[in-house]
């Protein structure tokens, strides 16, 4: 009886030990095999709950921001009129239209893209998308919106995947800084445009860029492009802001302002080229 009591006293410690064991097991190759059946069985319930919550949340936000929506609607009416006029002009430029079409056909030949919706935003700078193994997504696939880099697929479930944004503390990339005045229609080697190279790391609420050459002429507003082996191609990350002017430092640093606000994006495209 006494032995049973003493075992009960230590049950919490045994439980903690078991939890640590599970973490170690999860970090091994067995982890994925343990998670897969649970993910397969319970992800539909999670997605259903999440979608129901999103509907309520959207209505809640809409009611709270009703007045600002009316203002935004009026402003957007003007913007749509402007955009219609601009798009008509652009379509008239037949040569540009042809080159775009050619470019699009080249992209489609090389890679396959999966259109996917964002399900959830995590506090640690990750997002969950509603495509997974069943849609042919693999770990390492690149998530894009046009030529803008959104993130890299980090974990794949049967019907959902975890995408690591550049905001995540776990993400770091080699980048190049080019002038914002670059004319992309001219065929120029990108190396001739590079002002400086650098390294970007996520910091949850901002993207930090460091190791830019101290003598480089980088300035606020320059374009930051990802050129990293893990990404494979050159993609737009954002624009350079808050460039440091510390004469004592051996390198320049700053922040990168994303082209899009990551938390306002609804649809993204996954380029299928990763490996399992």
């Amino acid at each position: 009886m006494k032995k049973k009591e003493s075992l009960k006293n230590y049950s919490n410690l045994f439980f903690l030990f078991f939890a640590v064991l599970l973490v170690l097991l999860g970090s091994s190759s067995v982890g994925g095999s343990i998670k897969y059946p649970f993910s397969y069985l319970f992800t539909p319930v999670y997605v259903a709950g999440n979608s129901a919550g999103k509907k309520i949340s959207d209505w809640n936000n809409a009611l709270l921001n009703a007045s600002s929506y009316i203002e935004e609607y009026n402003r957007m009416k003007d913007e749509i009129a402007d955009l219609k006029a601009k798009s008509t002009e652009q379509f008239l430029n037949y040569e540009e239209y042809l080159s775009l079409k050619q470019n699009e056909s080249i992209l489609e030949k090389e890679n396959k893209y999966v259109k996917t919706k964002i399900l959830n935003y995590m506090q640690d700078g990750n997002i969950i998308i509603n495509s997974g193994k069943d849609q042919g997504i693999n770990k390492g696939d690149i998530v894009l919106l046009g030529r803008v880099y959104i993130g890299t697929v980090y974990d794949v479930g049967p019907v959902t995947s975890l995408v690591r944004l550049p905001l995540s503390k776990s993400s770091s990339f080699e980048v190049i800084v080019v002038p914002s005045t670059v004319d992309w229609n001219k065929e120029e080697r990108i190396d001739t445009l590079v002002k400086s190279t650098g390294v970007v790391t996520g910091n949850l609420d901002e993207i930090v860029i460091e190791n830019m050459g101290i003598n480089s002429s980088v300035q606020d507003g320059d374009l930051v492009l990802i050129r990293d082996d893990r990404v494979g191609d050159v993609f737009v990350l954002g624009t350079l802001i808050n460039v440091s002017n510390n004469p004592a430092s051996t390198y320049k640093s700053g922040n990168v302002s994303g082209i899009f606000d990551y938390f306002n994006i609804l649809t993204v495209f996954v380029r299928q080229n990763g490996s399992n």
């Binding site: 049950s11 903690l16 640590v20």
Partner: protein, 166 residues
């Protein structure tokens, strides 16, 4: 009877997961932590640990957190809660302070453990939505108080022959 209990447990898991994802999406609010603290001391530890393990693995699987993240955080806060009950008795009204700490620590430790296990290092605590965690913890304590109040009317089968004074 055991089969029915097993089926009920599976249905409970599905319903709880739906509610967990629903409330996490709307208010970043966890039902799981309230269920655990409410069941603590009311059911056998062994059963609680089974529930904790199964539901934690499910949450890790669907939320793409490293395996064992939820369980490790829960194990830690459960130990801390048991330690606090030595200082503050569970029957005392001050027990709600322990409940508050239990829930608040769960909310804080979860993103930290997730970040550390994913190799992202120790995150900046002040970058976390601490006010949101605080409000969620207060609401959770209120819900626990309501659950406590109502469970007083439910008599335990094993103690049915005893007279209760309160």
């Amino acid at each position: 009877m055991e089969v029915i209990k097993g089926l009920l447990f599976i249905i409970l898991i599905f319903v709880l997961l739906f509610l967990e994802s629903f409330f996490l999406r709307i208010f970043s609010f966890s039902i799981f932590v309230i269920i655990v603290i409410s069941m603590k001391g009311r059911i056998k530890d062994f059963l609680l640990y089974i529930f904790l393990t199964v539901f934690s693995i499910i949450l890790d699987s669907v939320m793409h957190t490293p395996l064992g993240t939820h369980l490790l955080v829960m194990a830690f806060v459960v130990i801390l809660y048991d330690f606090l009950t030595v200082i503050i008795p569970q029957d005392s009204k001050f027990n709600y302070l322990s409940v508050f700490l239990f829930v608040f620590l769960y909310y804080i430790l979860l993103p930290i453990t997730d970040s550390v296990l994913q190799g992202g290092g120790f995150p900046n605590i002040f970058a976390l939505p601490l006010l949101n965690f605080f409000i969620n913890s207060i609401v959770s304590v209120c819900i626990c108080a309501v659950i406590n109040h109502f469970t007083k009317f439910v008599r335990n089968d094993r103690l049915s022959d005893r007279i209760r004074l309160n």
